[in-house]
């Protein structure tokens, strides 16, 4: 059985339509996130020892490279806004009381903005050298990174 779907006849409305850009954002960020998240999972869970290699030294090693810095910040921002906007759709669908709906949508964006700020701060101000205890955590795997740290 084939189904014929009529071409929707939508009127052109003047003005800025935020929902339209939200809709486009979900698709654009989606395409980029496939690449970013698959690469992230592969590099962290499939290569070498996988989950067992992950610790402070592992992250210090990755964030020593601008490549992974840019990768991670892009993924952070795109995914949080995509996820938050998706959750907004659910809230709009299921919250029946207007003030509760509005509150939840506000809450979502506040959480989103907070996490973007925390995530960007963590990455941009990161230093493997922090203090003596973090240098010792670098261990032998992090020797290259530790070598960059000024002697205390």
């Amino acid at each position: 059985m084939s189904v014929v779907i009529e071409t929707p006849r939508s009127r052109k409305r003047p003005g800025f339509n935020l929902e339209k850009y939200g809709w486009m954002y979900m698709r654009l960020s989606g395409v980029l996130l496939v690449i970013l998240i698959f690469g992230h999972l592969f590099a962290n869970l499939m290569v070498g020892e996988g989950i067992h290699a992950i610790n402070f030294a592992f992250v210090a090693g990755k964030w020593a490279s601008p490549f992974w810095q840019v990768w991670d910040v892009t993924m952070l921002v795109l995914a949080l806004i995509h996820g938050t906007n998706g959750m907004r759709t659910l809230v709009n669908d299921y919250a029946e009381v207007e003030w509760i709906r509005r509150t939840l949508v506000w809450l979502l964006w506040i959480v989103c903005a907070t996490l973007i700020v925390i995530g960007i701060l963590a990455l941009t101000t990161f230093t493997p050298c922090g203090d003596a205890s973090s240098i010792s955590l670098l261990g032998k795997d992090g020797a290259n990174v530790a070598a960059l740290c000024p002697v205390k």
């Binding site: 999972l41 869970l45 101000t125």
Partner: protein, 126 residues
């Protein structure tokens, strides 16, 4: 099938179940992401604390949870591409049903590539 509603293109079919799955996986990934950004931020303020939290990721139960999370991400991302194709490709709506099964097939294939490796990493160290 007396009590099946007549004349519906959508209810109870692939279109509906793919939407339900897309929604559930989207919410699950969202809540994981909230936690994941916070645990990763520990790397900046408390390196030893970070290692302690990541140690829990290496337990068998979180290891299994992580495997489920990857399954959810595989479905959500591939079905997301399907949604995009339905919206932008001229023949997208016509092939949405086939594309759903392609999504499932690809997700299973990628999952079979991932799960053994991850589970071996998890269970060989407990």
């Amino acid at each position: 099938m007396a009590n099946r509603p007549a004349g519906t293109l959508y209810r109870g079919k692939v279109g509906m179940w793919s939407w339900v799955l897309h929604r559930i996986t989207g919410v699950a990934i969202f809540f994981f992401l909230l936690v994941h950004v916070l645990d990763t931020a520990l790397v900046r303020i408390d390196p030893a604390g970070y290692d302690a939290v990541i140690a829990t990721y290496k337990t068998w139960y979180i290891g299994l949870g992580e495997t489920g999370l990857v399954a959810a991400i595989l479905f959500h991302s591939l079905n997301g591409i399907r949604i995009i194709l339905i919206d932008f490709w001229r023949k997208g709506a016509k092939f949405q049903n086939v594309m759903f099964w392609v999504v499932i097939g690809l997700a299973v294939l990628l999952f079979l590539g991932f799960a053994p490796r991850h589970l071996i990493n998890v269970f060989s160290h407990i």
